[in-house]
């Protein structure tokens, strides 16, 4: 398993979004070196990210949906950044949550913001720099 050096993590309470996202990510990720992890429960995501980092796998970025039950994406990002200051976070969200997204950005807690629904090219444009910078 030593060949697995990197990982990306997707968190969304909607499994179908994860499915879509996963498919799209698989198009631009070299899966021989990169793990793509999916979580519908933010708490599970928190635990597993810790696990990955413990395994010294480089988590390239975390894509988080804003609107989730139990914990919002903003809360999740705050918690992640508390522990892993350099973790790159990308927020997926509808227009409605623009204000809390903005406040996250102002606090430098957010690398990118992708508006739902997203365009594939746009998604790739946003993600590519984050990927290439690693490999």
């Amino acid at each position: 398993m030593s060949d697995m050096k990197c990982a990306v993590v997707c968190v969304d309470d909607d499994p179908y979004i994860l499915q879509m996202l996963g498919f799209q990510l698989s198009k631009i990720m070299d899966q021989s070196h990169t793990l793509i992890e999916y979580f519908t429960d933010p708490r599970q995501a928190l635990e597993n990210i810790d696990l990955l980092i413990d395994e010294r796998i480089d988590v390239m970025f975390v894509m988080v949906d804003y609107q989730m039950p139990k914990m919002t994406g903003a809360e999740l990002i705050r918690k992640l950044k508390e522990k892993h200051q350099y973790l790159k976070c990308i927020m997926l969200s509808g227009q409605a949550n623009r204000s809390s997204v903005d406040s996250l950005k102002e606090e430098n807690l957010l690398e990118e913001f992708i508006e739902k629904p997203w365009d594939e090219d746009e998604l790739f444009d946003t993600l590519r720099p984050l990927i290439t910078s690693r490999t």
Partner: protein, 1149 residues
Amino acid sequence: MKTNTKSHNFGFRLNFSEMKKVFLVLIFSSPIILFGQDFSKQVQHEIDSLNEVIAKNNIADTALANIYLGLSGLLYVQNIDTMIPLCNKVIEIAENSLDKNPDSLEKIAMLNHYSGALNNIAYVYMTRGEIEQCIDYLQKSLKIYEETGNKAEIATAVNNIGYIFQQQGNSLKALDYYKRSLEIEKEFGDKLDIGTSLLNIASLYEEINQPDRALDYYQSSLHYLQASGNQYKIAAVKLSIGDLILNQGNEMLALTYFFNALKINREIDAKDNISNCLITLGEYHLSKNNLDSAEIYTQNSLNLRRDLDFKDGIAISAITLAKVMLKKDQLRAAKNYALESLSVAQDLGYPRNIKVAAEILAEIYEKENNSIDALRMMKLFIQMKDSVNIEEARKSLQLQESKYQYETKKKEDDLQHDLEIAVKDEKIRSKQSVTNLLIILLSFVALSLIVIIVRSIKINRLKQKLIEKNEENEELVANLESTVEERTLTLKDSFALIEEKEKNYSDLLDKSSEMIQMLDPEGNITYVNQAWLDNMKFDKPDEVLGKPIVDFFNQKTLKEFALVMPKLMQGELVEELECQFISKETTEIVLKGRARPIIKNGSYAGSQAFFFNITEVLRAKREMDQMTSFKQIMLNITTEYINAPISEIDNVINTSLLEISKFSSADRAYVFKYNFEEEICSITHEWVGEGIPSQLEELKAMPFSKVPHSLKKHTKGEFVEFPDVSKIKDKRIFNVLNEEGTQSMISIPMMHNEKAIGFIGFDLMKIKRAFTADEKNLLWIYSQMLVNVFNRIAFIEELQTTKNELAEINLSLEKKVFENTKKNMDLSRSIMEQEKLVTIGEISAGIAHDLNTPLGTIRVGADNINFILNSLFNGAICDFTKDELSHILNHVEKNRIEMYVGGLQMRKEKSEMLEYLNASLSGKIPSALNEVCDLLVKCRFSPSQEEEISMILSKPFAKEYLQIMNQLQMAMAQLETIRKSSDKAVGVVQDMRAFIKGENILEQKMINLRDNISTVLGVFNYEISLHVNLVFEVDSSIAFMGYDIKLFQLWSNIVKNGLEAMSDQEDRYLGIFAERKDKQLKVVFENNGPKIPDEIAGSIFKKFYTTKAKKSGSGLGLSIVKNVLKEHNADIIVESNETLTKFIITFEI
């Protein structure tokens, strides 16, 4: 009329602001125009600084004059009385200074101050209405300016004079001055001043009703003003132009001007003009009948004007608002506004507004049926109209018209009023009449009973007496018998003595009170005693002696005599003999006694009889019996009258006439009614015996002149009685009665309230007889009974009429109630619609998200499928046979996989698979083992599926085979995602539809409580799923009859209310529980929002109550809740404390 008022408002408004400007411009060389809330602050500041300067010594006269002038211009706002003293001071300083021949510069300055002071004094005179003084000062001021040659000031002064003339109503002169001013301004070239002058001319043209010219001038004024950049005036002109254009009918353009003006005014915060724009818009909407908009605009303008204390404006806004409210049928509000407007207008002495206010108030009072105040207002209205209108003819015409209207209205009102009173009286009277009737009838029954009891006591007494007398008689007879026997014995014993004492004996007989008679064997009378003669009304014995006794017998006695005689002749005594003799006066006398034969020498020698006259006793007894049965009849009749229904009364009367007639031997009985208006009496009921002709037809309308005697007696309450017609002395009466064959008659008046309303009469044709006092008493009672019966009929008829009227009133009331109910229903329906729209607005963000997410997913899915198809057809698909492909497809169909398996998991599975493959293949390792293994994991094969795996691996293109399988699996998963997402989107739309869906058809149906509430939660899904800890514990078996849409509204209002209440807190909890017990269903909505204060909890369900005025909501929500609950026979309780707020709804099901 409306346009007049409006254009007047306009003229006034402009003039108002113009006037200020005019004088302020004059007072300060650099104009300061003060508006808005900073006004007083600025003024105060100015005043303070000026006072400061005055306090310093040694300042130049010019400066001092300038300061005083400035102060006068500032202080007049607070106290106009300061103006003249201050200006006089300026004049004093100026005159002193001018006397000293100052240098030219100072002279000009002084002259300017001098004329400024004159101008300001003129202003004071203007406000006091002393126009001549005002013009005088203005002219003086103008003269000085002309002296100094200051064209700008000349123009202003000329303008001001024009303004005064305009105020005076002298439009032509005003126009003259304005145009002069304009000419000078043009020379001078100040765009603002030219614009202002043009504006003044325009407003004047508008005032004198030349809108086209006014518009031209306004337009050119606008041109200059725009060049000058004075936004305040630009806005004012735009408003005026808009108003004129509106009158020309170009609404859209007019509105553009209005909004433009409003925008400018808002920008420069010119509150007075904002209020002008608002009222114009308000009036526009009022004219279009957009009452809600009209109310908002007018209300805002009124509020603004109240803040500004702009009295004229307040009067206008308030009256416009009153008109709006009147149209909205909110009389109370309309009245309050109209009264406010009236009082302000009266304070100001503003006749046009007083007039309008009075008109509106009159209408309101009329609607309130307050005709006194309506009249007062109408008078005020007319008065004001008088002062407003100059044309005399028109004035009087309108006066006439409104008078006529008022009178008509008044008449209607009076009529209505009378009718109401009448109906009320009628109700009372009918009640009373029934009560009276009952009392009368009861008292009559009591009276009859008393009479009957008294009578029967009397009868009993008489009976007692009779028995006593009988006993006495019998005793007497017995005594007498014994005496006679004794004497007979004595006679027998001492025959000699008999001879001797015969004379004594006959004396004794003579003096006996018993009637004694003696007959010879042939039946001729040989002796009668004095008592016999007395009873038989004879004077002397000679009249009867020797006559056969049978001559005195009646027929019956004659027959009996034939039986009695043989007994006597055989020497028997005949006891208990009853017979009837006919007296000298041919009256029958009933006798009771006994007879005995006289035997001489053994042979029959005649008879002797002893009688008592019992005629009177019998007659009394008979009369008593008769009275008893008469009373019985009367009692029966009375009972029948009381019991009989009104339709049967005529029959009862006829029957009673028959019974009374039969009893009193009458052959005809009748009831007449008097009609005093037409002076006739008419027969209403009649009974006739056999063979007696009916008079029912011919006596239907008998003039009073034919019955003067009866009428006279009856009106006095007396009976008319003729016991013997043959003895009537009045020929006329005699002839009438005799002709009919009447022998005796009696008629009894029917008295009501001491007035004869008719009479009852009885004619006797076959016999003659007088009615006894007792009979007459009973007949009197009978007549009164009939009176009561007739009254009862009349009352019942009246009652029926009243009932019908009431029913009619009720019907119309019901109709009104129905109409109002319908109106209310429509209203509440539209309110519900509105509330629904508000709710939709509030939750639209959530809806947008709920729609956006699945739609986005669908899109991405489509892209992905596109990608997959591309790679599929560019890949190795063509290398496989149809069988192989269908096998792949079959596998994919059967093994749906999840696409989002994490990398860690995949890694784990792959190592397991690799292990398995290495073991099972034992050396026959395919070329690309790693890739194949990867694909097997991706296709979600597990090592347990040995058979399938070995089948695939046996293929020459195992890798490509797995690739195609994986791609197809992915495509399937994407399709599934698209399907689920579109379901989700459809679900959102359906929830919305359920919420919006029309509810005109409201039918109760079985409601599943959980489903119904779930739909609501679906609508609020966005907010709830995101922020709220929801506990939803409602048993899915609970169902009851209800209106689903309304219940939907109910839940959504409560949920919405709860969500809004919790919107400011982090931790949000919403609990929904239901519990069913017997026939009660309890639904609880609880949240951890802030406590509802006790004083609010009480009014929370009132209409339009809202604590979230600034946030959202019309305050209708919880009142809708209340209505829905009412329709479901349910109750709601609010329990609120610091930790929980509970809405507990209880349904009776």
